[in-house]
Every structure is written in structure tokens, then in C-alpha cells.
């Protein structure tokens, strides 16, 4: 934590050969590993490792809403809590929800709610809990990506998945998927979430400085990143839920015969 400004200026985030500190090229994602159905008690759950980020998501519901007066007569009450474990950051994070976490919980909810058929479950609640166990930049995007898988695992009817990824600007260059150090020392960060089927953007934030041209480039790159994440989401879902073709045949026949 002894960064001073001169150091920040001299340190290069992209080396002469165009490689970033962790060896990636400008358009490369960090390695991503996804697991679905990690938790036993939750109605749905998923776990993601994205670079050094380690994030768990759990879904409960549709279930009775507490406190009860919050229940909505025409649709489900969709709630999200994004939370970082005290040991997930280099300096201990106070476990009480920070202003940052409250804001992120809100924008994450706003980014996922559009794909849920909320009107199918009036007077109920669906709760999503996102726990960041280790953070290394880009936790809101990883959180959205894993939460939408936990919702799918819970069997919540959805119009689409939500995939998220950030682009940003470091050393005057637009790059994909900033790590923590790149976010801190870089010039801009632009996290984006999309519903891949329609390519509609449901989360968009930005901080830093970018010209219109850079913004356009970063936005398109982030959307491209979201699509790559979506492919990995689909892969993970297939791995968990695809059944052996022979077995599937057997099951269908069973069902038919029992009717």
C-alpha cells in the first residue's frame, strides 16, 4: 500500500512486447472456471474462479417474503446482496455492508431482473446472495455471471442468461477484463452486462477518462467479452445438466409408458 504517484507513473502496465503484467494480450480474458450446484442447501448455486477472483452465488426462492409487507401483488420481489468476505481483500474489509457494496447490490439486481419472468410468482421473493471470497478486480461482472447461473440452477424461468465482462483503458490502450492492479493504476474501467440472446445491455458503469472513440471501442470489446463468458456459461450448464443420450432415451420411454 506504499504506492506513491511517481511510482504509479513509471510502472508500465503493458510491456514493450504488448503483453500485460500477467502475460495476457490486450483482448485476452483471464482464465475462468465455473461450477454449478456447488452448495447443498440453496435452491440453486454456482461458483466461479475468474483470474484470482473466487465467488460463490446462491439462490433461494421463489419463497415467502420477509418482511411480509414487501411482497408485491403482481410479481416476485427480486433481491440481490453482493458482499465481500473480510479476508477477500489485501486489507481486512469490515464485514458490514459498505456503500460500495450497497450500490453494487442495486446495479447487479437491476442487471439481472430484466431476464427473470417475475410475473410468474406473485407475492413471493427470490433472493440472490453473492459472496466474494477472494477479489482481484472485476468482481461485479464475475458476480453477475455466476448469479445468473445459480438462478438457472434453481430452475427460475428466465428469458436469457446474463453475462458480464469489463473493458478498460491502461497505458492509453483499450483492453479487456482489467485485473485489480490494472483497475487501480489504469485510466478507466467500463463494466458491462448483456443478455446474450438479444445483446441488450443491462449493466453499464464507467469511471476514468475516455474519449468518445475509446469509449466506443471499449464498449464493443466488453460486449465481445460478455459473449465469450456466455459460451462458458452454456458449457458449464451442459456439463451439469446434459444427460447421456442413451439414458435420456430410456427416461423418455419410461415417461411415455407411465402416462
Amino acid at each position: 500500500m506504499n504506492r506513491n504517484l511517481n511510482q504509479t507513473k513509471n510502472e508500465k502496465l503493458i510491456s514493450e512486447d504488448g503483453k500485460r503484467a500477467d502475460g495476457r494480450g490486450p483482448n485476452d480474458l483471464r482464465p475462468v472456471k465455473i461450477e454449478i450446484g456447488t452448495l447443498e442447501k440453496a435452491d440453486g448455486s454456482a461458483y466461479i474462479e475468474w483470474g484470482k477472483n473466487k465467488i460463490l452465488a446462491a439462490v433461494y426462492g421463489p419463497r415467502e417474503v420477509h418482511p411480509r409487507h414487501l411482497a408485491l401483488p403482481d410479481r416476485t420481489l427480486f433481491r440481490c446482496r453482493y458482499h465481500m468476505a473480510p479476508f477477500s481483500t489485501s486489507e481486512r474489509k469490515n464485514p458490514a455492508p459498505s456503500r460500495r457494496e450497497i450500490e453494487l447490490s442495486k446495479v447487479i439486481r437491476d442487471s439481472i431482473e430484466p431476464v427473470i419472468f417475475t410475473e410468474l410468482f406473485p407475492r413471493t421473493g427470490i433472493d440472490v446472495f453473492i459472496e466474494v471470497l477472494e477479489s482481484d478486480g472485476g468482481t461485479r461482472c464475475a458476480g453477475i455471471t455466476v448469479a445468473s447461473l445459480a438462478l438457472a440452477d434453481a430452475g427460475i424461468p428466465m428469458k436469457d442468461l446474463v453475462a458480464a465482462c469489463a473493458a478498460g483503458k491502461i497505458d492509453d490502450q483499450v483492453v479487456l477484463d482489467l485485473s485489480d492492479i490494472e483497475d487501480q493504476k489504469g485510466q478507466a474501467d467500463l463494466p458491462v452486462a448483456i443478455s446474450p440472446r438479444t445483446e441488450r445491455i443491462s449493466l453499464l458503469q464507467m469511471d476514468g477518462l475516455m474519449s468518445y472513440e475509446e469509449y466506443e471501442k471499449a464498449l464493443n470489446l466488453a460486449v465481445e467479452g460478455c459473449k465469450r463468458l456466455h459460451a462458458m456459461q452454456q458449457e458449464a450448464l451442459k456439463k451439469k445438466f446434459a444427460v447421456d443420450e442413451e439414458e435420456a432415451k430410456g427416461e423418455t420411454e419410461d415417461e411415455v409408458s407411465s402416462e
Partner: protein, 270 residues
């Protein structure tokens, strides 16, 4: 749904939609027009700086207080900026007493991001003793009347209050601050303007009123600095945009920011 009885709200929403097809709005504005903006500065004597902005019927007051304190360990030679927003219960039937909720926190953080990322305040000039003592600039946003688009009204009021804020001139002697008699302005080096647009149907409208906000599909706030650089973005509300929408919104924001800057911040920084 169209068979059910209309409520005043649904009639309003329908009307907003019908008018927008002809590029018109409820209050007669063009799609890219702001409501009438009135500004006043220096209204609270006890504050270092203050401003009241009315955006149509929306009223936001901002007070600046400057105190001394310790810097953050990762920026020992820089002053500290703190933005807080209060959605005061007298401003709207939907505001309640109690600690700031997610709406107030989002508002404060979006205004904060604009000021911080544009480096509007030259925080290095607010250092007294490196690592030990710096000035802390408190920007307190007080929403007095909520008729929509709190982001833009709060950001403009904050920038006006900051650019008219005065602190006592100071010197550092043996790690102590010695204040002089005369007042100086806060060290500002940039001026951020935030522009909020709502997507209703397939149209983008600037500065949505509260009534329009109820019909909004999605909303986006874009902060633009003196050099026409984009320094913060926030999509708020549920609802979605296409990439084309967003790039169009960025262009509108750049044009609108230039307009507002000339009108309201032109003569304030000296």
C-alpha cells in the same frame, strides 16, 4: 392489460408514450431539452460553499464543508473528497427517515465518481502535512423537492458549490497549519457535468421528469469533463439499452454538457 381500468398513472404513461411517437413531451419540451434551470450560490453563510439548483420543480441544495483530517494510506499527499446525499423526507412522499438507502447511496456515488474521475478538485493542493494532515472536502447533497432527475441537479449543484467555495488561505509551519485572514477558492482544475437520459419506447429523452421516470424503460447518466472526455457512466433503473443507444447517449451528453458548462460554469472559475 389494456382491458383493465386505467389509473391516473397508467393514463399518464400512455400519454407520454403517445406524445413521444410525435417527438413531443408532456410539458412541451423537445426530446433533448432540459427543463428550466435556475441556480443560486452562496446561500448558506456557515458553509464554505453552497448552491441551490432548480431543475424544473426539482430542487437540490448542496453545502460544502472543509475540515482537516488524515489522508488515506494509499494517497498520503492528497486531500480527501467525500460525497454524501440525503433524500430528505420533506422532498417526496416516497422518501423515508433513517440512514441513506440504496437510492441515496447510488446518487452520492455517481456524483462522487464524476467529480473524482474528472479530477475536478486538485486534491494534491489540499495536502497540509504529507501522510498526516490534509483537507477533507465534504460535499453534502440535500434533495429538497423531488420531481425527477436528481443526478443532474445534484451534480450541477455540487460543481457550483465547489467552484464558489472559499477556504482560509493557509501556510504550513513545522507541521502545523497557520491560517491567514484572506479567503481563497478551492483548487479546481476541471468541471464535470452529468447528463441523464431516459429511454422510453425507442426514444432517448434528456432530463426525465418524475412523471417520465415512471414510464422509463432504462436510464443512463453520463459525466463529461471540460475536455469533452467521458469520466463516468451509470445505467440506473431496471431496463436495457442497445450498444447504439449508448453511443448515441454519449454523443448527446457531450453536446449537452458543453451547453450547460457555458451557461452555468463559464464565469465561475477564476
Amino acid at each position: 392489460m389494456s382491458d383493465s381500468y386505467d389509473t391516473p398513472v397508467s393514463i399518464g404513461m400512455k400519454r407520454i408514450g403517445e406524445l413521444l411517437i410525435q417527438d413531443k413531451r408532456l410539458d412541451g419540451r423537445g426530446l433533448l431539452d432540459y427543463r428550466e434551470i435556475k441556480t443560486e450560490t452562496g446561500i448558506v453563510g456557515k458553509a464554505n460553499g453552497s448552491a441551490l439548483v432548480s431543475l424544473g420543480k426539482t430542487k437540490v441544495m448542496v453545502g460544502i464543508k472543509v475540515e482537516t483530517g488524515t489522508p488515506f494510506p494509499d494517497s498520503p499527499e492528497e486531500g480527501v473528497l467525500t460525497v454524501n446525499a440525503e433524500l430528505v423526507p420533506l422532498a417526496s412522499p416516497s422518501f423515508e427517515t433513517g440512514p441513506p438507502g440504496e437510492k441515496a447511496i447510488e446518487l452520492a456515488r455517481v456524483v462522487d465518481r464524476g467529480i473524482r474521475e474528472s479530477k475536478s478538485i486538485d486534491t494534491k493542493k489540499l495536502c497540509i502535512v504529507p501522510g498526516k494532515k490534509v483537507f477533507i472536502v465534504f460535499v453534502d447533497i440535500y434533495v429538497l423537492d423531488h420531481d425527477g432527475n436528481l443526478f443532474d441537479a445534484s451534480a450541477l449543484a455540487s460543481m457550483l458549490a465547489l467552484s464558489t467555495a472559499k477556504i482560509r488561505e493557509f501556510e504550513t509551519k513545522d507541521d502545523a497549519v497557520v491560517y491567514k485572514e484572506n479567503l481563497v477558492s478551492l483548487p479546481l482544475q476541471n468541471h464535470v457535468i452529468e447528463v441523464t437520459m431516459a429511454k422510453i419506447g425507442d426514444k432517448l429523452v434528456v432530463d426525465p421528469s418524475l412523471e417520465e421516470e415512471s414510464a422509463v424503460d432504462a436510464q443512463i447518466t453520463i459525466a463529461v469533463d471540460d475536455n469533452n472526455m467521458i469520466c463516468a457512466t451509470q445505467k440506473s433503473q431496471t431496463g436495457v439499452f442497445t450498444t447504439t443507444d449508448i453511443l448515441q447517449a454519449v454523443k448527446i451528453a457531450q453536446a449537452k454538457a458543453t451547453e450547460l458548462r457555458e451557461k452555468f460554469l463559464g464565469g465561475t472559475h477564476e
